[in-house]
């Protein structure tokens, strides 16, 4: 997928993964989350490899994949409260998170009635509903309108002010202040000519 790739993120850092489809953005995010072990090389958190204590690593990260992980039969509030409780959060935290993504009016709607953009916002609200140091976002802006994008930016900058890190793979203009951009196409293994 790629080789010779190396980067580090400081407290409050943000990294945008760029590259064409299939360049390995999702694969890199999955490796950072610990879902897929890298074939070679290592991933460190404060100097120690994440593979040493996968449970501690899971506790410190939020991974929002390209699927929304919502149950159509549950209401927006129930879906969000479930994910918050799985990470030690509370129902109240979930309600506040609904508000920050302007979903409070939809809170008691079963998710099957939500639009694609609303479902995406609900998935992103998981970020705010319970705390984690590292946010891994796979195409977070898919289907978001301008205002939802602004909500996401607000959430990300609040998270970074508190010292959290963000790694996002995106094609959308999700411009973040002082974010470094990693172009994965530069690290593609060269084919022997």
């Amino acid at each position: 997928m790629f080789r010779g790739l190396s980067f580090s993120l400081a407290r409050g850092g943000a990294l945008l993964l760029a590259g064409p489809n299939g360049s390995g953005k999702t694969s890199l995010l999955r490796m950072l989350s610990g879902l897929t072990p890298p074939e070679d090389g290592q991933i460190l958190w404060r100097g120690s490899p994440i593979s040493l204590d996968p449970a501690a690593h899971r506790a410190r990260l939020h991974f929002i994949g390209h699927q929304d992980a919502l149950k159509p039969a549950l209401t927006a509030r129930e879906n969000l409260a479930f994910w918050a409780e799985m990470r030690g959060g509370t129902r109240r935290g979930a309600d506040a998170a609904l508000k920050s993504f302007r979903l409070d009016a939809r809170a008691d709607w079963p998710c099957r009635y939500l639009s694609a953009g609303e479902k995406r916002r609900l998935a992103l609200a998981r970020l705010v509903a319970s705390k984690a140091w590292l946010w891994l976002l796979d195409e977070p802006a898919t289907g978001l309108d301008a205002q939802a994008l602004a909500n996401l930016r607000t959430a990300i900058s609040a998270h970074r002010r508190q010292g959290g890190c963000v790694v996002a793979a995106t094609h959308a203009p999700l411009i973040l202040a002082e974010a470094s951009v990693l172009s994965l196409a530069d690290f593609a293994p060269r084919r022997a000519a």
Binding site: F63, G65, R87
Partner: protein, 221 residues
């Protein structure tokens, strides 16, 4: 433990809200049992002789019916990927899902089994052992089934594969379940068979969550 309860609660909510998976399982169980008097004739002696076997085979097939969806829907909508990354160990999550599956299917089967037993002229002396055997045996069906469901995740026509994988493993439950249910009416003690069922349950409790979690991790890589 909060996260464990949240997962059990969510799966139960889904089971009871989504058109009633549990109702389908219970209805299948009832229908499968009721078909037998039509097939073999209404003679009470014959029905009483085969009643325990019929009840258990029907319960096995009914439990199998709902297993395919155990991890499938979480896998399809991305929930499984998120669950694997939750702080709660995946082994405990698998156990939570088994518990919810049992509460939504095994428990209703246990509750209606005595009623169906009456239809088959099941000896009323064996009723207590039948219920006890179902209480001990049906959780084993959920636990072993979860391993099969995790292993066949993402396979094309996974349902058939799942049956081929899981049904042979259900045989010990079938043997001891039937033996415990029949013992009283044949003048034997049901206790040894119930103890063997309890041993099966403890073994499944100790092994199945680990096996299911390992299979789920494999599926997510």
């Amino acid at each position: 433990m909060n996260a464990f309860a949240a997962l059990v609660g969510r799966d139960l909510k889904l089971a009871f809200r989504q058109g009633g998976d549990w109702a389908n399982v219970a209805a299948f169980f009832a229908l499968a049992v009721i078909l037998f008097p039509f097939g073999v004739g209404p003679e009470p002696e014959l029905l009483a002789r085969i009643s325990a076997g019929v009840l258990w085979v029907a319960a096995l097939l009914a439990a199998l019916l709902s297993l395919e969806r155990l991890f499938q829907s979480d896998w399809e909508d991305g929930s499984l990927e998120a669950l694997v990354l939750m702080p709660l160990p995946l082994e405990l999550q698998a156990l939570a899902k088994c518990l919810a599956h049992w509460l939504a299917t095994g428990l209703p089967l246990t509750v209606i089994a005595p009623l169906l037993a009456l239809v088959l002229h099941f000896n009323s002396e064996g009723m207590t052992s039948l219920v006890l055997a179902m209480l001990l045996g049906t959780p084993v069906l959920s636990l072993i089934g979860a391993v099969g469901a995790a292993l066949t995740l993402g396979a094309r026509r996974g349902g058939v594969l799942l049956s081929l994988l899981v049904l042979p493993l259900y045989i010990p439950v079938l043997i001891f379940g039937v033996a415990a249910s029949e013992a009283a009416s044949m003048g034997f003690a049901a206790r040894p068979h119930l103890l063997l069922l309890a041993a099966l349950l403890l073994t499944a409790l100790a092994l199945a969550p680990w096996a299911a979690a390992a299979a789920l991790r494999q599926a997510m890589e």
